[in-house]
Symmetry: C2
Subunit: 455 residues, 2 copies
C-alpha cells in the first residue's frame, strides 16, 4: 500500500483521535485551565511515543510544560525540528459558538472546535503523517526532533529559555512549523514572512473611586473619556500609527516582492466576504495584501470600564482599561517599539489621570529568502498532497518562536500552513476544512519522504 | 416630651428599623432582583401603615410597583405630597466595598450600605419623623400624601404614567423630596435646581465576527478603535460638548445667581479630596460649582468590547459598546438633545461600521424660584433640626419626577437633602452620616409641624 492510500484508508481513525485532542480545553491564558494544559501535554507525549519517537519527555517550565521527543535513526539524512503548540485561545464569547468550542462537530466538510486550525489540528496532521510513514515504510526517512509547547497563545516566554539552555539538543538542519494558513481554498502555501507582536495593557485611574455622574460630572476627569481620546490620537487620518519613530526601521518592500505578492491568487471579494464588515479600512498607499502582511499596525484588542451590565448606571468610574497590540514588520525592534509606544502614551495623557502601562509580551517579525532546496521539496510535497499549484506567501500573524529559532540557529524555517484565513482562529466557530486536514497529512508525509530522498 | 427629645430617645429603634430596609437588595436595573423589589415595596407599605397613613396601597406598574398612602385629617392645613424611592443602584464592583453592600455597617459615625444615602436612608428619615409626630402629638399637623417608587434608578418611566392618570388624587400644595445632598457637613441645604438626564447606549459592529488581529489587522475596521475616535470627537479642547445645537437653549445664569452660588461655603479643597484624582477637569470659563450644577455634560458611563479577561488575546472584535449620558440644564429639551446626539454620532461614524443607537431614558432639568413661604418654613426647620445656618443650592444630579411634577401641578417643589457629596451614592462604600440622619428626622418633623402652624 502506498502512503496516500494508507492515509485515505484511515479517515475515521484520524478524526476520532483528533477529537480526543480537541476535547481538552487547554486554554493557556486562564489559570483555571491549568489541569487541562497538563492533560493536553500528556496526550501529546503519548501520541509521540506511539508514532515511534524515543525519549519522549514532558518538561516543566515556570508556566506550562513543553513536550519533546526525537528519532535520530537516519544517518546521513537531514535533521528536522518540528515545532507546534497544544495550547489554545480562550473560547469566549461562548454564546457566539454554533456548537460547543470543546465538542468537535462536523458540518459541511468543516470540523468546528477551538484549536481545530490553531494549532491542534495542524500538530495532529504531523502526528498522523508520522504514523503513516511508520506504518507504510516501517521507519522515518529523516532524523526528527519534535517540540510542542503550551504557551504559544500567551507569548512563548518559557519556550525561549528552554531553547537557549538546550541549543545542542535542538540543533537541526531546518525548522518546520504548521501554524499558519493557506492563501485560499485550493492554494497550498508556504509562508516565508510573519509579523512580530508586542502586546500591552494600560489601566487609567481618574477619581479614587467610582462616583455619581450627576453629582460630579462636568468637573472631574472621566478615565473612559481620557481613554477614548488617547486611542483616537494613536492613528492619523491615513490610518498610520501616530507614534513618533514607529516606522523608522520599517524595511521598504522590493519592487519584485511587491509585484509577486500582489500577483498571488488572492481574492479581495472573498476577503470582504470573510470580514463581513460594511467596509474595509487601512493604511493609505498600500494594497490590502501589503497592509495585512508587510505593514505594522496598532490594534485595540479589548477595552472596559464603568458600568457594563443591564440597564443604566449613572457612574463615572475610577478606572478604564485597554488591551492592545502592535504587529511589527522587518526591521522593527520589539523593545524599541514598546519604549516608543509607552513614551507616546505618557506624553499624550493629561495630568488628570494616573496610568499603569504593561508590556505583556514581545516578539520579533521574520522574513526569509526561499532559495534553500528544502523549500523546493516543500513546494513539491504540497503539490503532490493537494494536487494543486503551491505558492510562497507572507502572513500577518506572529510566531515568535520562528524568529527566535531563525536568529539562533541560522537554518531555514519552513512554514507549511493548512488553515484558511476564514476559519476563525481566535474567534467563535473556529474550524478547519477536512480536505486540508487530510491533504496536509499527505503533504507532510511526502515532505518528510522527499527530504529523505534529497541527494 | 417634646419632638426632639422623643427622636433622641429612639436612636436604637430608628437604626434597627433602617437596617431592615437596607438589607433588601432592591436593585431596579437587574431583573434577578425583582423579588427583592417586591419585598422592599411591601416593607415600605407596612411602615406607612404603622405611622398611621390610610388606604396604603402597593400599585403594580409595567415594571416595579409604586407604594402610595395618605392622611387627610387636617382640614384647612396644607396638603403635602412626599416623594421618594425604595430602589437602589447596582452594587458592583463588589470587591471595592469595605463591608457588604446589603449588610448595613457602622464605622466612625457613618452608616455604610447601598441605599443609605440614595434614597432609602432619606425615605426612612420621613417615616421616622411621621412616627415622632404621631407619638408625641397624637396626629399629623398637615394633610399628607406619600408616593414611594421603585424605578428611580432606571428612569421613573411608569411613575409618570401613574401621575398622569391620577392627577386629582395626587394634587397637593407642595412636593417634598429628600433625595439630594447637603452642600457640606454642617450646612443644611435646600436644593432649588437639578440637571436633567438622558441616558444612551450604542453598539458598533465592524467585522461580522471576532477575527484574529494578526491575520486581519491593518486592513479592516476595528470597532474598538472607531468607538474611541467617536467619543474623542464629542468634546472639544475646552471640554465643551462638541454636538451642534447642544448649547443653543442653555439659559445664561443671572449675575445675582452666579454671585450667590459662588459665595456658598463650598470648599474646593474638600471636593478635590473627595474626588481623589490627580487633577480636575471641566468646561473652560466656568467655576467648579457652575460646572457641576449649571452646565450640561456628556459623560461615558461604561465601555466594553473585545477580550477583557486575564492575559492576552489577539482579537479584533466584531462589536464595541458604550453607555453614556447627557446631563441637561434649563432650558434644554431632552427629546431635542437625544435627536442632536444621535444625529452627530451617525454623522461622525465612518461607513465601515454599523451603529445601533438607543436612548434608554430621558429627563428634563428643573430650577425654581425659592420665594414661596414654604421655602422659608423649610429653611427654619433645617436650622432648628441641625442648629446651623441653612442655604439654598442647586445640584448636578437628576430627579425626573421633580420636573414632571413641577410642570404638571405648578406647585413649589422643596428638596430637603440629607446626604453629603462624598457619601458615594452610586459607588462602592455608599454611606450616610448618622448626625445628618438624626438631624434629618428632627428637621422633617419640624418642617411638617411648621407647615401646620402657617397662617
Amino acid at each position: 500500500m502506498n502512503l496516500f492510500d494508507y492515509v485515505d484508508s484511515k479517515t475515521q481513525e484520524h478524526l476520532s483521535d483528533l477529537y480526543e485532542f480537541l476535547r481538552i480545553p487547554s486554554i493557556s491564558a486562564q489559570s483555571q485551565h491549568k489541569p487541562d494544559i497538563e492533560r493536553a501535554a500528556q496526550w501529546v507525549a503519548e501520541r509521540l511515543r506511539r508514532v515511534g519517537l524515543d525519549s519522549v519527555e514532558i518538561l516543566p517550565t515556570k508556566m506550562h510544560p513543553l513536550v519533546y521527543g526525537e528519532s535520530l535513526h537516519a544517518p546521513g539524512k537531514p535533521t528536522i525540528l518540528f515545532y507546534g503548540h497544544y495550547d489554545v485561545q480562550p473560547a469566549d464569547p461562548l454564546d457566539l459558538w454554533t456548537s460547543p468550542p470543546f465538542e468537535p462537530t462536523l458540518r459541511d466538510g468543516q470540523l468546528f472546535g477551538r484549536g481545530t486550525a490553531d494549532d491542534k489540528g495542524q500538530v495532529h496532521i504531523h502526528i498522523r503523517a508520522l504514523d503513516a510513514l511508520r506504518q507504510v515504510t516501517g521507519k522515518l526517512p529523516i532524523n526528527l526532533k519534535v517540540l510542542i509547547e503550551g504557551e504559544e497563545e500567551v507569548g512563548s516566554e518559557n519556550l525561549w529559555d528552554f531553547v537557549q539552555a538546550n541549543k545542542a539538543r535542538l540543533k537541526a538542519d531546518a525548522l518546520i512549523v504548521s501554524d499558519t494558513s493557506m492563501l485560499a481554498r485550493g492554494v497550498p502555501s508556504i509562508t516565508y514572512g510573519l509579523r512580530g507582536l508586542n502586546y500591552y495593557q494600560i489601566e487609567l485611574t481618574g477619581p479614587a473611586q467610582d462616583v455619581h455622574s450627576g453629582v460630579f460630572g462636568g468637573a472631574i476627569p472621566n478615565p473612559l473619556q481620557v481613554l477614548t481620546e488617547l486611542f483616537a490620537k494613536l492613528h492619523d487620518k491615513n490610518f498610520r500609527v501616530a507614534i513618533p519613530g514607529f516606522y523608522d526601521r520599517v524595511a521598504t518592500l522590493s519592487r519584485a516582492e511587491r509585484k509577486a505578492l500582489n500577483a498571488l491568487p488572492w481574492k479581495e471579494k472573498e476577503f470582504r466576504k470573510t470580514v463581513g464588515a460594511p467596509g474595509l479600512a487601512g493604511e493609505k498607499g498600500f494594497t490590502i495584501v501589503e497592509r495585512l502582511w508587510c505593514r505594522p499596525t496598532l490594534e485595540l484588542n479589548g477595552i472596559w470600564g464603568g458600568y457594563i451590565g443591564e440597564g443604566a448606571k449613572t457612574v463615572i468610574p475610577s478606572k478604564a482599561y485597554a488591551k492592545f497590540s502592535t504587529r511589527l514588520v522587518p526591521l522593527q525592534e520589539p523593545k524599541e517599539i514598546a519604549r516608543l509606544v509607552e513614551r507616546q502614551i505618557r506624553r499624550l495623557l493629561p495630568k488628570t489621570v494616573h496610568c499603569k502601562f504593561q508590556t505583556l509580551s514581545m516578539g520579533k517579525p521574520w522574513v526569509a529568502a526561499y532559495t534553500h532546496p528544502y523549500f523546493q521539496v516543500a513546494r513539491d510535497a504540497l503539490e503532490k498532497g493537494f494536487k494543486k499549484r503551491a505558492v510562497f506567501i507572507r502572513e500577518g500573524g506572529s510566531i515568535p518562536f520562528v524568529t527566535q529559532m531563525h536568529d539562533t540557529f541560522k537554518v531555514p524555517c519552513i512554514l507549511l500552513g493548512f488553515g484558511l484565513p476564514d476559519e476563525n482562529a481566535h474567534a467563535p466557530d473556529e474550524h478547519i476544512a477536512l480536505e486540508n486536514y487530510f491533504g496536509g497529512i499527505k503533504a507532510v508525509a511526502s515532505f518528510y519522504e522527499g527530504l529523505g530522498n534529497l541527494k
